[in-house]
């Protein structure tokens, strides 16, 4: 892992004029609107733009209403998950100064999976409504545990945190597979959950995780100026009256809350948390206030488009959004590898 650490931010926050921000904002908003529209338009039953507009404005027949409105929950979940994963990735990449940092590294995915598996196997939990709570508990508990192990013995560098996440993920993976393989029913719950999908979930999944997502988001917004100061180096930040340790701790807590909320609601989804911060940084520069704002627009856009692609590609079957993001994100990463400078 040490070979990967590379500073993501330059020493100074790049100056960007208001005109550029405005143009970027308009671009992101238009794309998000298109993504939202596409998400309610496309599916196993294709509907036309005029149909969708008729339903949205309160018209349309019964059948049409059912079809279009059934796409509302997954669209809302896509917005929430994309936002959460994107901002969690921004925070983690900023704090660990590792361009490859993403929410999965904190052990969130493994923790949520392990909790679901344990609850279905030993406590008889079943159904979406129950497992979502277990996923949330497991994700948060693992996040805290990784943090405790990573900072054990004082210090607590981000590299340690990521390694602690990897270790804990491996041990939890063994547990998950052992339990799942010896109990067919648990195995079914697990294999359907672990692909990561926006479909088959209702609004209650959204309401269940919303408080955690909101808390994480609020914390991220509050921390943005501190993170900006820290981009100049811990010493400079300290001289500005900011405690780097506290900002790091709070930032990782926010990242944990956000990714736990997203993972509990829709399952593990790869690459959104990794890719969106890079795209946004290319667009608006290193200012964390702008990064968070634009990630909140770009994350949902990316996830919704990926979901639409998954719905259209194998029609009338459906490819889960987690598979789509992996197959879009991984090649992008492979192309980026060639441009890595002097990594050894």
């Amino acid at each position: 892992m040490t070979t990967l650490s590379r500073t993501t931010q330059g020493p100074a926050v790049a100056r960007r004029g208001p005109a550029r921000y405005l143009a970027s904002a308009v671009l992101c908003l238009v794309l998000l609107a298109l993504a939202l529209l596409a998400s309610v338009m496309f599916g196993s039953k294709a509907t036309s733009l005029s149909d969708v507009l008729r339903v949205v404005t309160g018209g349309g027949d019964e059948y049409l209403r059912t079809v279009v409105e059934s796409r509302y929950p997954r669209t809302a979940l896509g917005v929430l998950a994309g936002l959460c994963l994107g901002i969690a990735g921004t925070l983690m990449q900023g704090i660990t100064r590792n361009p490859l940092a993403e929410p999965g590294l904190l052990g969130i995915n493994a923790g949520a999976s392990a909790s679901i598996v344990a609850a279905t196997a030993f406590l008889g939990a079943s159904g979406q409504r129950e497992t979502i709570w277990w996923a949330l508990v497991g994700a948060l508990a693992t996040g805290v545990l990784v943090h405790l192990v990573g900072t054990a013995g004082g210090g607590g560098s981000p590299v340690r945190l990521v390694l602690a996440g990897a270790v804990l993920s491996a041990i939890l993976a063994a547990f998950i597979q052992a339990v799942a393989l010896s109990r067919p029913k648990v195995f079914d719950t697990y294999r359907y959950w672990v692909v990561g999908s926006l479909g088959g979930r209702g609004f209650d999944a959204l309401w269940a995780v919303l408080p955690f997502a909101a808390a994480g988001l609020l914390l991220a917004v509050v921390l943005a100026p501190g993170l900006n100061a820290m981009a100049m180096g811990d010493d400079k930040a300290a001289s500005l009256g900011i405690s780097p340790a506290r900002v790091k701790g709070a930032g990782l807590l926010a990242a944990t809350l956000l990714s736990a909320a997203a993972t509990a609601a829709v399952g593990p989804i790869a690459f959104v948390g990794l890719a969106v911060p890079h795209l946004v940084r290319a667009l608006v520069g290193a200012d964390f206030r702008m990064q968070i704002l634009f990630t909140a627009l770009a994350g949902p856009t990316l996830l919704l488009f990926a979901d639409v692609v998954g719905r259209v590609l194998l029609r009338p079957e459906e490819l889960m959004v987690g598979v789509v993001t992996a197959f879009v994100g991984a090649p992008a990463l492979l192309f980026a590898v060639r441009r890595m400078r002097g990594a050894s």
Binding site: I171, V195, M320, G322, L334, V337
Partner: protein, 363 residues
């Protein structure tokens, strides 16, 4: 192998300051080859062999179906009958023989790779070989069921994943940083494909596939044993040839170029050899986790010396896998789980222990 050993005579009489590198023993093979070996390494290797023998005997004798220890010598001489013959020739014999060679192949593979990347996390499973083989197995099970055996799918997947990593780094296998990042990408794609297949096929098939993808040694045949031993016996001498240049390479590219080595070529050869070993092991046993990562690390700590500990890594890899498989067969916890789960749990715990130990020192 006939070896004549000769302890080097130490000049000087006072024992306080040895005049030569202490504890070197020359291992001679014929009149031309003489390999200096540290005595502590030799002892460690002998101990590992003994432990491996013990674990092997335990594998054959323990449990309800075990061969009575009193009958074991005669059974091994080919006089086994009835139940013993079945256990030895069908049930546990091939499984044990496969476990030894597979573990050794993983260990050796990891030692070669870590020596090149100079990073304990740089092992073939980290750069996507395991995930690739899993995806290959899954794709074979979904798209060509019954046409392509799952193990062939795994082999194709492993080689394909490595090819993809090779192409996408742009510098081949020489830049460890790029290698690891490309590995992450390839692994992510492979895992997504595997998960989709496990989601899409029916439960029994998905369950069998998952067991295979975790790495399992149950129901191995003598054919499997032949395959992996052939791979191992071809690769071992080649690895031995690389040991010295690799040791020099660990001092850094500049210094080793100055010493007349060619670090680039050595690195590429070592990585290719490492991939062949891992791919061979994966095709008979599935991607068993953490052996290639931990065996070289333990070898380094046991022998307390620098340089790639190729032989020790292979021995320890075999020992680890045989022990894990013994646990998989005998622990009453779960019924014959894939051995890969045990190595994953133990390897993860060991890695955690290493980290905690490292953390006592400031980074």
């Amino acid at each position: 192998m006939k070896t004549a050993e000769r302890t080097e005579v130490r000049t000087g009489t006072t024992a306080a300051v040895p005049a030569r590198p202490a504890g070197r023993v020359l291992v001679r093979v014929g009149p031309r080859v003489a390999i200096p070996v540290r005595r502590s390494s030799l002892i460690a290797a002998a101990l590992s062999v003994l432990l491996l023998l013990g674990a092997g005997v335990a594998t054959l004798t323990m449990g309800r179906l075990g061969i009575d220890p009193a009958d074991l010598p005669s059974a091994l001489m080919g006089e086994a009958t009835g139940k013993n013959a079945f256990v030895l020739n069908r049930l546990r014999g091939p499984r044990l023989v496969v476990a030894i060679a597979t573990g050794a192949a993983f260990g050796l593979s990891g030692a070669l790779f870590q020596s090149v990347t100079r990073n304990p996390l740089g092992s073939p499973d980290v750069i996507g070989l395991s995930a690739g083989s899993g995806a290959g197995a899954a794709a074979a099970a979904l798209f060509l069921p019954g046409v392509v055996p799952v193990s062939v799918g795994a082999l194709v997947g492993a080689v394909g994943a490595m090819g993809l990593v090779y192409v996408s780094t742009g510098t081949g296998f020489r830049n460890p940083g790029r290698l690891v990042v490309a590995g992450i990408g390839v692994a992510a794609m492979s895992t997504a494909l595997t998960q989709y297949v496990v989601y899409a096929v029916e439960r029994d098939k998905a369950s069998a596939l998952t067991a295979y993808i975790n790495g399992s040694l149950s129901a191995r045949s003598w054919d499997d044993a032949t395959v992996i031993w052939a791979v191992l016996l071809v690769c071992l001498p080649l690895a031995a040839l690389l040991a010295r240049p690799l040791g020099i390479g660990e001092m850094g590219d500049d210094l080793s170029t100055g010493l007349g080595a060619r670090p680039d070529r050595t690195a590429t050869a070592a990585v290719l050899l490492s991939i062949v070993l891992s791919a061979g092991a994966v095709s008979v046993a599935g991607p068993i986790a953490f052996i290639s990562l931990t065996a070289p690390q333990i070898a380094k700590r046991v022998t307390r010396s620098g340089g790639p500990q190729l032989v020790m890594s292979a021995l320890l890899g075999a020992l680890l896998l045989v022990l894990a498989d013994l646990a998989a067969q005998q622990l009453p916890l779960f019924d014959d789980l894939p051995v890969g789960l045990y190595t994953m749990a133990v390897g993860g715990a060991y890695l955690g222990y290493l980290l905690l130990k490292e953390w006592k020192r400031p980074l």
